[in-house]
Symmetry: D2
Subunit: 426 residues, 4 copies
């Protein structure tokens, strides 16, 4: 793949951002690209239900939502045969390259987008260059378009190298909702992986910087609370209502005020809220979609416990009921020292990389930790690599974008590390 190819593929994916479990076009495009570039070179290409443990999927949207995005993908004219295999939101793929004796190396890249509107500021690069999201309300605001592109680029590069062993690239869906990591970690494909790399672009590191091993993944858990009260005429009988929006607002105020913890980092966010139906009706329903995080699983559990208490008491205060569903969770994980030095070594040899950091803290969460833990528990090693990129807006914001040069950097570093892992064993 030339540099132009990489840019063009990344922009095509950027134009069609698909949130968790809706990566129909994205998966089909990845499959098409792999088939045209690697074709018979691939020992296997597992798609959709064959790539994941379908019953371990978390946070899958409802049928109407899935159908809506499926039909959108159909309209692009992408291969219907592939689409059909993804029906019901079993997205993602695992591509396998077999090159004789040697270790089985895994590379995990995630491919989903976020449900947020992209900036339409004329100075925002995707606007200026004409590849802004075609889907209002969805956006590649975390660089997974670049990750998917890297996955393909690494496969092609390794296929052309003297790599000996097996390479599996995991194109993972639904990272943003902590939905896909677990189902890939419980598929059969991870079981024989000796060394796993995962990669993320950006993370406040500029173009030309690489973090060989990232740690400090926050354990994370999603919670969804539904408050139910009783409606009433807001003018005529306010006292007959049991106001679910008041309960929700009381909860939000107190969620963010859960005491900080001396044992380490904690987080809480009421990311989505809604309630009520009309200005003149006392609201009888309200909802909070929240997440809590902790530097350790214990800290995450502390936050979860306090969150439940807040939600329950807020409901009671306004005489409402509340049902709390715990959504997806992801554990913490650590990068293994031996892989970290291999990656650092590869990065040191990569043109364009001016600075290599051994370690850094993520300060966020990632469901790559499911795959990392699975490999580590099987006796393998794992490492999460950061590839710097100049990003004008923060991750998850409307003006996020990547410096496309860093896609090539990522491919160089990852392919270099994979070759080094192969050589180590010989």
């Amino acid at each position: 793949m030339t540099a132009d190819d990489l840019v063009s593929l990344r922009r095509d994916l950027h134009r069609k951002p698909e949130p968790a479990w809706r990566e129909f076009y994205t998966t089909a495009r990845i499959v098409a690209e792999l088939e045209s570039r690697l074709g018979d070179d691939l020992a296997a290409l597992h798609v959709g239900p064959d790539a994941i443990a379908g019953d371990k999927r978390m946070a899958v949207p409802d049928d109407a939502e899935l159908t809506h995005w499926y039909e959108r993908a159909q309209e692009t004219g992408v291969d219907e045969a592939v689409l059909e295999r993804l029906e019901g939101g079993a997205t993602g793929a695992v591509a396998v390259l077999e090159r004789g004796e040697g270790p089985t190396v895994g590379l995990r890249v995630d491919i989903d987008a976020l449900p947020r509107r992209e900036s339409d500021d004329p100075t925002h690069h995707p606007v200026a260059e004409g590849f802004r999201s075609e889907h209002e309300g969805a956006m590649h605001a975390c660089g997974h378009d670049a990750h998917a592109t890297m996955g393909i680029g690494v496969l092609e590069r390794v296929a052309e190298s003297d790599f000996s062993g097996t390479l599996k690239v995991f194109f993972q869906p639904a990272e943003e909702v902590i939905g896909g990591g677990k189902s890939m970690a419980e598929s059969e494909h991870i079981r024989d992986v000796d060394a796993l790399l995962a990669v993320h672009i950006g993370l406040d590191h500029p173009t030309g910087e690489v973090v060989a091993g990232i740690d400090g993944f926050l354990a994370v858990s999603h919670l969804e609370a539904e408050f139910t009260g009783e409606s009433a005429h807001a003018g005529g009988h306010p006292e007959q209502g049991r106001n679910a929006v008041q309960a929700m607002a009381t909860a939000v105020q107190n969620l963010y005020a859960i005491p900080r913890h001396n044992d380490g980092t904690t987080r809480v966010n009421a990311g989505v809220v809604e309630g009520g139906s009309a200005a003149n009706v006392i609201p009888d329903e309200a909802r909070i979609v929240a997440e809590v995080r902790g530097e350790t699983t214990e800290l995450m559990e502390y936050m979860k416990r306090r969150t439940r208490r807040v939600l329950r008491s807020a409901a009671e205060m306004h005489d409402c009921e509340v049902s709390i569903e715990t959504g997806p969770e992801a554990p913490s994980a650590t990068s293994d020292a031996d892989l970290v030095s291999i990656v650092a070594d590869a990065a040191g040899d990569t043109a364009g990389i001016e600075r290599v950091l051994e370690r850094d803290e993520l300060g966020g969460s990632e469901d790559a930790t499911f795959l990392m833990k699975a490999v580590q528990e099987n006796g393998g090693t794992a490492c999460y690599v950061g590839v710097g990129t100049d990003h004008p807006g923060g991750h998850h914001t409307a003006t996020f974008d990547v410096d496309e040069a860093s896609i090539g950097h990522g491919i160089d570093v990852l392919a270099g590390a994979i070759e080094r892992i192969s050589h180590r064993h010989t």
Copy 2:
């Protein structure tokens, strides 16, 4: 119209509840019914743009919403020619009956539904009898289906009586959003009305009870606040966010806590709220649709002033911006004593009415007050009549329903009063 006809018409309207400015099917059905029952008896039938002052409409939804409901109405097979006249949400109608010399009497009935889901409890009467709303999320939860039916019934009854004068029935759209009253009050049709009656069913009065003259309309105003902050990764950089949902929650808590006022009744409701896009993103947008009310216009203005202060300070507290739009407003009004005694007299003579109250307080708001004030300012008189009905759930709740016998009571009382008004002048 037989009692069966009344029930059957009311149930048809109940099945197809259409919220404000979306009364496409409802208007077309009213027109069809009037044409088949009264035909050439009507001196005029003004429909849609001819019935209202289109530029005075308030709280009109956006085109996508209007189109959605318009297409729903088309699917019912209702008269396309009528529908076309309503395009763009100019709904409603004014029917005119001319019967020689005499006063011009007006009757105002409202026809819109509420955006809330109807109960599906098997004991809820519309479920049991099979006329529950066909539109999930919309419901005749305030009896306007009965009001529309009464309007037609009164026209037919008066046409058959010895009434002398002119009768105009105003089928008013968009009462629930305080959206239609003003545009009807500013149309030409109201100008020559000497005596105006308006009617509401229920209001916590049982079947067999009539309130001749209702007062105590609360002045009301809608406000919509949009909070804008800045998104950030909720795990990685919570401190970079400016959290619009925290601003909204702070506002909700303090809105309901605006001090009560010694001069009389006040109300506030944060009827609809929403914010945020994903669990792991600090929310950069949130919204409150609120209403405030006051026993007098001054009290309503007091609440509005305090509401603005709360909204602005809540935004500032979380470093957000807020834009506040004032929505529709309606004034207070009073029923004139001479009409009140005429209605009381008519109610006293009506079979099935066991108790007649001269006066009661509404304790809610109504944009019929625009029409009442318009008539009163032209030297006419106005009266707002309450027709009791056993209603299992409160107004605006999911189990609201009417005792269909009271539709007939309403027609009897109103027609009786209209005839008496006519006779008074001779």
Copy 3:
């Protein structure tokens, strides 16, 4: 008493404001004044424990507080023998004038001050004239200094008139804490009263105006909540704390947000709050002294129920305990029509009174209602009289003051009414 005497007595009382059950100096001064002016004319002068049902006293402060004020009173050089009878906070007095056959008429005046700091603005009349409160943190901010003065003035005036019957003046302590009314209503002195007058100055009516009969007393109840959590080092282990101040703040926010009620006026106030011990300690204790009111006893009970719910849930939200004590309560009451017209008649004949209103709503609470109800239940009648006065600041505020001319008005109207009551029986 000359006009100068009245002013001088009122100013002396104003200078030494004593809050509820601490009216040591005030009672002693009243006793001294009565003895010097009426001496043997009085049939009886019941002081302290003889004037009230001591075991029915409510909201009595602790011994340290009582001693503090007792010693202050001692320092003024007032009669020690009287003071000794008041020990332990049994303050107040009942003066009895017997003049032959006739009805027993009661007049109730209250004598306590408020625990608030008086303005020291040089334009504030008591500052300008040198009679500002000598006790920082206490103030006659509701005119009870004028009431006490009126009570003495009325006794003297009636003693000089041709009044026939018995006059009892109740100098009632502890009105502001709803503490004294009940204990006077349960003393023996009220039992034979045929007609009771009570009086209040001001109430937003200007000098020269009299309200013959005030109604609309709000039923009222005090509540005191103690939150108990657990302290912790605020820097080292915030998560080990259970924060009573957070619980208290959550409660305050939600108390004021208790839904307004359609049946009538409601009120709530978190009048005194406190919590915590040091900036660097997570607070383990906090307290709210609140009051709720309602236009009816039912509405007051509604507010009490909701208040309890808020307090309990706020505690639970922050893992605290809360103990809630219900403090004093007072009922509602109504002025009897026959007394109202007698007072109106007397006011109409009073020099300086330019406007007489038959009725007005208080919109506040009063424990005079205990005495009114007691008399009414015994078959007597009662009436609460408002005597207008120009007051620059509102009741209970730091700049409240009375126009001293209205003290004379009050004496004229009340004495006039008492004489009329006497004559009615002859």
Copy 4:
């Protein structure tokens, strides 16, 4: 000093806990003890104004408060001549021992208590042994009674050793309010110190454990906010009030909800709040005493900035004014490696010490950092030592207590380190 002497001195100080700048008895007792034990051995004993830079004192209480504690100290019969030198709250002392050539070594111990009530549980050790605080509402809840005792013990021990050089022991007042560190750091006595040790007991380390060098002091700042609104009659005219307690509660809710920061630890605490004067008056005054902390000065400034925003907006929301005063602040600091290993070495040689940790994080704040920074800026070195003790309750809680055996451990470790510092130079 025998072990019994140590226990007896510590218990005497424990019995008479004196908060910041009120350490009258404590200082006098220390002076008396030093004079009786060391007498002419001391080269100098600077007391009160001679020990500190008086104009750099922070958070000094008002005269009434100082007088109250001064008089309490007088009642104990302690040396009046010493007391007189402390008048006005210039407490503390610096004792100097000169022993020939060698380095000047400093030891800083703090001596103030906390304004909180000690537990009266019969199982609480000071209760069981009869040395519970004699001052209700004050308590040695952070072990400074043990620190003062150690300071005297170390002086005596070093005096008896072959130490060569100068030893200065700083008995520092007002640590808990961040009030005294700065004024000692700016006195002349610190200027020639080559090596400074500071010590704290407990910190969640058990008896037998020593932390040679503590880091991770949080920068801290105190803020005091006064809200001013307008009072009104809570029943009669709630709308005329501007409610300072509502403003305060809104602020408290939002203070604890200031976003966590990705760069490190932050803290906020509304440690003392109060407001209002009576249940029936809308509160016109309220107050928050808060503190914020940050792992770095930048993080502390971030918290301060957000705190100011919250306080200002909360005031504005309820139409109140707010004045914000910034109180004392303390910086962060680091223990120097060479001193850390000397202390570790000394601890390793101390009987009863079973475990020596090189480093630990405090996770709290300390104004010893002012002295440490002063020494370090002059080219000296500093080290903050932790001496473990079994403490049943957490620091700053009502059941805090120390295992008195660890007082001896502290003296051994500190004296051992001071001797080693002396020898290093020879």
